[in-house]
């Protein structure tokens, strides 16, 4: 009996993965208690609060005109991998398992808005060479760090940090930590962009397990929404965007804080601007 028990225990122990792993697979409904004004109504023009951006990013955002999105070639862009979890992000995670070894080959994610499909390779493969194409979802590889799935993504197309024109370059890399606590899923994402950020940009996003969730298809058909001369690219010339002042006025935010920058992301910045706050 003792021997049989030993064998059973041995089998159980041998079938436990070498590292602790918590399966994130499932249907996940987004929660918007973090950054709701930015994520659902959408960010206001000129709101760069809390973004560690440089002057170049600031000018690009100041020049951005939402009319750009009416151009047919801009209409069907999905959010890139670093932004799509922030939007209307009903999320499905599935895992791909090798039938022989039972090792996890990859996780696949599907998000509701514009239906971006993403693969997170778990099989140790290398990232592509520099001269390979970039995609909206980039090239992702994952590894377990205890119960936490850590994902590294490269080869992203040029995208956005905030969807009011704050840019993120195609040289950026994304590091993510996916953490599941029972029916809750938390994503910690860290963007490093040598072009437009002076510090890593970190944010968190949360979901709740929703087994009844069904994500609808999201086809996209680009059309001419506004007739314009060929080659027109809507934008604001430097110094002409009159909308930039609306956000700080409306919310009583000091203009200097609304312009963002690494310094504005730290708590001590509040004491620095308090005298000027109105």
């Amino acid at each position: 009996m003792r021997f049989q028990l030993f064998v059973v225990l041995l089998v159980v122990l041998l079938t436990v993965p070498a590292f602790a792993q918590v399966d994130p697979s499932g249907e996940w409904a987004p929660r918007f208690h973090e950054d709701q004004p930015e994520r659902i109504p959408g960010p206001e023009i000129g709101d760069y609060l809390g973004l560690p951006i440089n002057d170049a990013a600031r000018l690009r955002a100041d020049s951005w005109d939402a009319s750009l999105l009416t151009l047919p070639e801009h209409q069907c862009k999905p959010h890139p991998a670093d932004y799509s979890p922030r939007g209307p992000a009903n999320l499905r995670i599935t895992k791909e398992v090798d039938k022989d070894s039972q090792e996890i080959v990859a996780f696949h994610t599907h998000i509701s808005w514009q239906a971006p499909e993403r693969t997170i390779w778990m099989d140790g493969r290398e990232h592509p060479p520099d001269f390979a194409a970039h995609t909206w979802q980039g090239f992702s590889t994952g590894k377990w760090e205890g119960d936490m799935l850590t994902v590294t993504t490269t080869h992203l197309k040029a995208g956005w940090i905030r969807r009011n024109g704050v840019p993120r370059s195609d040289r950026a890399t994304l590091t993510e930590h996916w953490i599941r606590h029972g029916d809750y899923l938390t994503l910690v994402s860290i963007i490093n962009d040598p072009v437009y950020l002076t510090e890593p940009f970190i944010r968190t996003t949360n979901w709740v397990l929703d087994p009844r969730q069904q994500i609808a298809p999201y086809p996209c058909d680009a059309v001419v929404e506004v007739e314009r001369p060929k080659g027109t690219v809507p934008h604001h010339l430097p110094g002409t965007n009159t909308f930039l002042s609306e956000f700080p006025k409306k919310h009583g935010v000091p203009e200097v804080a609304a312009r963002g920058g690494a310094e504005t992301t730290y708590p001590e910045y509040q004491s620095k601007i308090r005298p000027s706050a109105k």
Partner: protein, 382 residues
Amino acid sequence: MTKKRVLFPSSQRKTGYAERSEGADGVVSSATYSGRTDHPGAPASIKLSRHPSSASSARRGILALFSSVVLLGLSTGLACAQRNSEIHVLHVQGSVYMLVGAAGNIAVQVGKDGVLLVDTGGAQMTDQVLATVKQLAKPITNRPIRYIINTHFHPDHTGGNEKLRAAGATITGGNVAGNISDATEGAALFAHENVMKRMSAPTGSAAPRSSGAWPTDTYFGDKKEIFFNTEAIQLFHPNSAHTDGDSIVFFRRSDVISTGDIFMTTNYPVVDLQAGGSINGVIDALNFILDLTIPAEKQEGGTMVIPGHGRLCDEADVVEYRDMVTIIRDRIQDLIKKGMTLEQVKAAKPTRDYDPMYGSTTGFWTTEMFVEAVYKSLSTKK
């Protein structure tokens, strides 16, 4: 690199694991994946264990190359790197490959009828380019380089013209005296007629380039058509863009465009005013490229675009670049309208939000040179 005899389903290939094809058993020589992305145009990088001094290694390299070609049908893209050179090969799609590392990018179309090259890179890398093209073509065809197309005349794209043309053979007709093979010496070299003008010189003057590098066939007007390797290939000539002799090459069946230096991911567009270029011509040409490209889904994939320099792209990348060039053109145009001098425009730094991406203070094409070229291009009365 460790090799293991392991069979993986097509979506489960991994670094260090060799394979022949989806569903096939066993290992093929020394071809090893160093990364398959399964996204458009970006999949695997294959390193060939080829050492020139070792015949057996060379054979393994060739076998590896063969295996890589077999895999082409299974993957959406493929890259291979030869250890004996710095030329990298990326399978774009269909019959078209992109060669990286020879100064300007080179597009290679390979099929049963032979090889067609778009551009020939810098002269210093020609031997490596030729060796790479031969390796690439050998499993597919025993026919030579038949055609070379020059997207423009600059030496980083035409430096290999003479050697690569000499390594090829033209399909020719007409009356031939003596041995018919004599008449086929060298590949045909196509370009817009202004490329010929830039490379040659009137009788009695010294030509900038030796005659062996000149086009053998030129076209005028706005387009030329070729049918090769069961594929329609269109050459479009944008009027006064990067130079006055540009050609955009569109492989219709493969759905790949080679743009020359009208489009690059590495720096601001080079507007060669002395060679007939103009900023508005560059923007018109970028918009023309966008007319040709059709993304597969959600602004991704579909028509792939090989830039003159930099990484493989698709429509969305050209859109990003077109937007940038247009916005900067508009800013400088506005400053000119306000009566600013060139120095005042430079001081206004109209490119400063894009400088971390495309700008440079050193090298052959600095940000200041770009701003100056745009200013002069817009200030020139037509």
